[in-house]
Structure formats: C-alpha cells, structure tokens
Symmetry: C2
Subunit: 355 residues, 2 copies
C-alpha cells in the first residue's frame, strides 16, 4: 500500500563532527506545500553508528513499521493507535534493540523501557526495567488506559502485566544470537557503557510519532537500553519529556541516542519548546540537537511532527534509520552525508538524490 | 544561626478554587532589592491538604531543613551539598513522606523515589522504587557521581547501594505508626489513589533548591509517593524535568503535588522555560501551576530559585509547608489565604502579616 520512493543506495562515509552537523529531510517549504491536515507517521530505528551489515535490514524494518503505523490510521485508528502499531512492528523485528532483539545488561539480562503519549489529553503510560514482555509499548499503553498512574517499574510493571493478561515470554525469545555474541565479547570491559557511548554504539532505540486527520498527535518510544548497562538503569526512552512527548498544541517527538545526554536536556520537551516559540519542526529539532551536543557533548536523533503535519527526522549520529508515510507516500533514509532533498513538485513523490 | 521571622499563626480556612488561586512569598521587587548573588536555600515539605495535627511539626521540619541546607553552604559547601543536606533532614523527619515516614503502597511496602541535579553541568542522579534506604537523596547523588547513568530503579538501585556501601535499613524503621494506621484504614478502597488525589491527600513529597555564592544552582526531591499506589508506581519526583530540574542558565525547581499531573506538563521544565523567556521566578511558577490546573486539573506546588537569588514558593493546594534562608534570615509559612507579604525595607527581616 505504501509507495517506495527514496534511493536505497548506502553511503558509509564517517562524519567526524557528528554532534554539530545535521541531517534533514524535506525542507519546511516542502512540508508547507502539503495539506495542513495530512496524516503522517514517522518512525526511527535508533540513531547510532549502524554497522553496514545491519543497514539494509534496518531500512527494511523502518519502512515496514511506518507502513504498519499508517495502515492503523487508514483502518480508522487515531494517532495513538498508529504509533503503537509502528513501535510494535519495530519491537517484533530482531534487528532493533527493543522487544525482540533487545540489548543485554551487565548481568546478561533483558530490561526494557517504553513510553506512549496521547497529545490530545497529555495522558501517558510508561514502563521501565520490565522483563519478559515482547511488546513493552502495549504494556505502556495499558498503564495509560487502565491505571491512575503514568509509570510502573520493574517487578510492579510485571505484576500489572499479569493482572491485565499481557503474556510474558521467556527471556531467550527476546535475545538474538547476534546480541549474545556481542555481549559476550564486551562483558568484561569495565567501562563498557562509556565505550558504547563514545563510539555511538548500541543506541538503537525505536520510536514513532504520528498526527491523524483530526490533528491529534502521539508519540511512542521503546528500547532495551545500552548494552552492558547497569542492572536497573533507566535511560531517556520511558521518561516523559526526554524520550518522548506529545501535545496537540505543539507536536510529538520521539528521541534516540545517548540516553543520559537526552535526559540532561529533556530533549523532547526542548524541541517542542522551540516549536511553541515559532520555529519550524526541522529547525527546532536541529537547534535542540545542536544544543545537546554543545552543552553535554551528546549525540542523538529525533523524529518530530506538528499538528499541521510538518515533520522532520534529524540526527547528529553517523546514521539513523527512519521512514515516514504521508498521504500514502513512503520516504526513508539511513545516512546523511551528501544527501539533499531534491526539488519536489507539489504532487510528486519525494525523493533524494546523491550529490 | 537562622533568625525566625514569620508569623506562626495558623489559618485553616479551606480554599475551594485551589487550582487557580495562588500563594506567593516575597514580591519580585522585594527579591530584586536583594543582592544579585545571595546564597539562598528554599525547602518544601509537600503541597497537600496538610491536616492541622501535622501543621506545627511540618513547619518545624521545614525550618530545620532549610537551616541544615544553609549551614552546608556556610561550611563551604556548594548548592548540591545544600540541597542534599536539606533533603536528608526532611527524609530523617518522620512527619514527611520521604525516607523515614514514607507512605505505604498497595501491598503495604515502602518504595522510595528521589532525584538530585547540579545546574552547573546538568549532571543528575535519581533512584526510583528503591527499598530499605533511609536517605534516597544521597543514593541518587551516588548515582550521579559514581556511575555513567542518571537513573537506577528497583532491585538495580539496591544492588548499587550495596556496592557503594550505602546501608540498608529494615522496612519497619521507615514506617511510622501513624502511616500504618492510615494505610490500614484505606487499604480496602479500590480507588484509593484517586481518592487521595481528589482530596489532595498524602502528597507530602519533600524538596529543596539552592543557589550558592558562585551562582550555581541545584535541586533535590524525595518521596515515598502516594499512599496505596500500585506496586512499582513511579511519580514525578525522580523524573528529570518533572519533579526537579536545575540549570545555571535559568534556575532550579523542586515540585510537589499530584505526580501524574506534574509529569503530564513536565512542571519543573515548564517553570524554567518561563524563566528563560524572561518571566520573574514567582510569575513563572504561578503561570505554570495555573496551566497545570487548567490543562490537566492537577494541583501542586513548587519552589524555585534563580542563579541571581530570586526565589519563590508557590502552591495551588490548600497548604504547603516551606521555608527559605537567605542571608542568614529564615522565612517560612504553610498556608496562603489572607496572607500577604508585608512591606520590607531592604535590610529588614521579611515577615508576613495576617489581614
């Protein structure tokens, strides 16, 4: 149902000053040519130094997830339904570090974080450090819809899952052979986590933002966290205002990258604060990621959508796999260097060209 | 060492429109008369409908805590030392719901949350859902200073505590007879938590903000959460940008009140966003609390301090016990109706009069 439009060619060039350079998607002018009430779904598969051997699968994964999200809208679902469907698709795909395919912590365990937020009411649900759950984003949604709380953590989150009939799965089903081997190679590094950060490695959080035809926005983010993280570590992903935020008066954002840096600047709220002050979506995202680089030397990425359907996928890491569906047209990319949006006629399919 | 200046008279009048009316402390003009580099410590003992039988002890507790925090500055400590000392004093005092005196969750257990943040670097440490720790704020500081992470939760937070030699204490030592009786009375209410919210009951989070003579700001917040909360519930207190935030470029804030509402509007960041846009501290706090009331019908309170020493203690609940020390002068209050700041000469001791 989604058309494929972007160039699939890969560009593996490393970018050294990655916390100040930026990747953009369509220009604001391009966005504004579109309907003010376009339904849009944007997804990301994590901003990090995605190795070549994972690139193709990552691109395929975000494309499929964006289509899943958009299909939810076409079936009559709202923005919350769309981001949940998109993130579930990413959680189910073992190439991404969320749900199936999750990273292992310092004890070789899987501890998962997720958030979902409804911009129409500011209602939100989140789980942190939950185990044996295949789709933490759906458990987060259950927290939002079936409790008086916003966040449940650890054992309590699992007790709640059981009480509402969310199935648990054996840990082994969530862990890939690839992840087990990577973890085995690195588990004896005392400074494992910091090395991951410095090499922008293993930051493959997933996320989605959406605006539906009624102008309601939503966001969702899900992750297994940084490989070799301390037991009990909670990063930015399930933290409202950091890993995600959605507000019908400004837009929706899902973030990825070095979690502790994102937390320090509450990146999702920062981007939306810029939008509230009149900045276009792409400029707000760029300014906020640049600030994170300058202030706390953190690299990352964000996808953002406004209630009027403006959207952007922006990152300061080497790569970020992302895809977007707008008006049944699919756009996607993973790298940034030497990529510029091509001139796009109002009714044409967006595409990218290599310079 | 601290002088006592405010009227200790109590006013138990209920205020019906408590989510739109406001309590203020000194006016902005009063604040600006003061030195631009005053060292200031402000503490709160929670914004809620504090019952008469706890009022006097609450006021005594915040007074003592503010003096503890200011003493840390006088001993040469920085803003982080001051907020940690102040919050430790509040955690040690069984009248407050943090550390000793914590509220019990739906299973009759104690699960504690805390955050601390250094505005000079945006470094932060937080623990959520930790058990058997007498001073969670100090454990949060250890997370900030001794790990590559910002937040540790549940079992992992306790494992970290053990690894750095933070003593555990038996649960019974953290629970007061008063709390056990209150919990027993209410544990069979299915909708206990929502009832607590509607009556603004059991929201006695504690917190502190400080600015030191170098202009560095810090915040800390600590809580046992809402009585009868679900196991694993994490409220706003340990969430960066919601329960607290500190940034030398804008100020420091610690929040209290209905946690889920505070999370929905990321209250601490909201207040500081207003300050960044030029609003005085008190006005920024008022506007943000008013917004929280209007948008999500949540009541609460906040203490805030700017790098230049402006400060405010603002709340939309019936009461909030707070105290502040500035230039060796102690101010404090618990109620708001019919209280106005008296005219204050530049060198005089601030005081409040009943109309």
């Amino acid at each position: 149902m989604c058309q494929v439009s972007a160039d699939e060619a890969e560009n593996n060039t490393q970018i050294s000053q990655n916390h100040v350079s930026m990747a953009e998607v369509l220009s604001e002018e391009d966005r504004e040519r579109k309907s003010k009430m376009s339904a849009v779904v944007v997804v990301h598969g994590g901003a990090w130094a995605i190795p070549d051997e994972l690139a193709e699968a990552s691109v395929s994964g975000v494309k499929a997830a964006a289509c899943e999200g958009f299909s939810a809208l076409k079936r009559g679902g709202n923005a919350v339904d769309a981001v949940e469907a998109a993130v579930r698709a990413l959680e189910d795909n073992t190439v991404f570090n969320a749900g199936h395919g999750a990273a292992l912590n310092a004890n070789g365990e899987v501890e998962l974080d997720a958030i979902i937020m409804d911009g129409s009411t500011l209602a939100s649900g989140a789980v942190s450090c939950v185990k044996n759950i295949a789709n933490p984003v759906s458990l987060a949604r259950a927290v939002m819809e079936k409790t008086a709380h916003i966040m449940l953590t650890g054992r309590g989150a699992n007790m709640f899952a059981e009480s509402v009939g969310v199935a648990t799965v054996p840990t082994e089903t969530l862990v890939t052979e690839y992840e087990r081997k990577e973890w085995e190679k690195r588990k004896h590094y005392v400074a494992g986590v910091m090395e991951d950060f410095n090499s922008q490695w293993a930051h493959d959080t997933v996320g989605a933002v959406a605006v539906d035809c009624a102008g309601n926005v939503a966001c969702a983010t899900s992750t297994g966290g940084i490989r070799n993280k301390m037991v009990g570590r909670v990063g930015d992903s399930p933290i409202i205002g950091s890993g995600g935020y959605a507000d019908n008066f400004s837009g929706a954002v899902s973030c990825t990258g070095h979690g502790e840096s994102i937390l320090k600047v509450t990146l999702a709220r920062l981007i939306l604060s810029h939008i509230e002050q009149g900045k276009p979506v792409a400029e707000a995202s760029q300014a906020s990621l640049r600030y994170m680089g300058d202030r706390v030397r953190g690299a990352g990425g964000a996808i953002a959508v406004s209630p009027s359907g403006q959207w952007a996928a922006t990152f300061t890491t080497e790569r970020m796999a992302w895809a977007a569906v707008e008006d049944d047209v699919l756009c996607y990319c993973i790298h940034k260097k030497n990529l510029q949006p091509s001139p796009v006629a109002p009714d044409s399919t967006p595409s990218w060209i290599e310079k």
